[in-house]
Symmetry: C2
Subunit: 200 residues, 2 copies
Amino acid sequence: MNTPVIEFFWDPASPYTWLAATQIGALATRTGATVSWRPFVLGKVFEATGNRAPATVAAKAKYLFKDLGRWAALYNQPLNFPKVFPVNSMTALRMACAANEAGEGGRFALAVMRAYWVDGVDISQPDALVSAMTAAGFDGAALFEASQQQAIKDVLRANTDDAIKRGAFGAPTFFVGSTMFWGNDRLVLLEDALRPAAQG
Amino acid sequence: MNTPVIEFFWDPASPYTWLAATQIGALATRTGATVSWRPFVLGKVFEATGNRAPATVAAKAKYLFKDLGRWAALYNQPLNFPKVFPVNSMTALRMACAANEAGEGGRFALAVMRAYWVDGVDISQPDALVSAMTAAGFDGAALFEASQQQAIKDVLRANTDDAIKRGAFGAPTFFVGSTMFWGNDRLVLLEDALRPAAQG
């Protein structure tokens, strides 16, 4: 049986995506799967589906703020709510597509989400973003230059369109084949679905 | 240390509430807690907070329908999506308040949600509701009669107002003291929060 692939659609603007990203590597190891990191534009997904960010209901926003801290504590992972939120993550996502082409997609995803959700870097600002990625061991300037190319912009658009076409409406979104899972809180179901394959 | 109490705000109209209800007894046993079953009117909570049912986004509705089946399978519990949905659960909730007064709140909650989410009983219809509850071992007629009393209606309204005042915006909602948890998918966090108390 082939190694199952978890497609992980991610946008660094989403805190639950950061939380899930801290867990997906270990989950993949436990289930014998590999992770395909697919940057996509969450705002475009909201636009296309009529969904909206969860924090648009005041009582829910208040709760979710606490909820994020509880998940971070459960996972023993850092999460510092950034001053700049929501954030324009377009350049970061394009750089992530360039990093994917260089075979560094997973490492870049974790690094850019850590920059935003732990270190408070304003990733909407190219200078801050490039510096943070350079500090994390990437050639930030080269990735930024690549992110300005039409071919890379097209990859990001194609990823987003693909996710929408297959039923995505939020983030993080995972696919195993045609089976979709949405949300950090569905990692338990994702793992449950992968278990028979891992044992097969 | 006193036994911790899990207040479980529930409305049988919510499928995730049924799923959580099937798990809460075992969770309480594991953590040394007791469950206080508190019927409340989810529609009023949506009205008060500006929240809306998750299924109002088409792509999300399609996904959640599958998601419910996955949780049911994970829990090894039955769930048959009812023909009548959404359902008016007001009479069922008032009967639940009457059952609470008789010390049968938990058993009633599980029975009425099973009637709707497993057996497909249209619980908006008093005759069907009373029959189902009588078949489940309650004095259905007496509970229905009690449900028409103003004092019972007031209990349900007070429960709903209490939940809204304390920050609820959906169902199921759990409180341990002033700490709120929302959703079947947060049982893991509820249990995590109760663990130190259970060990104390």
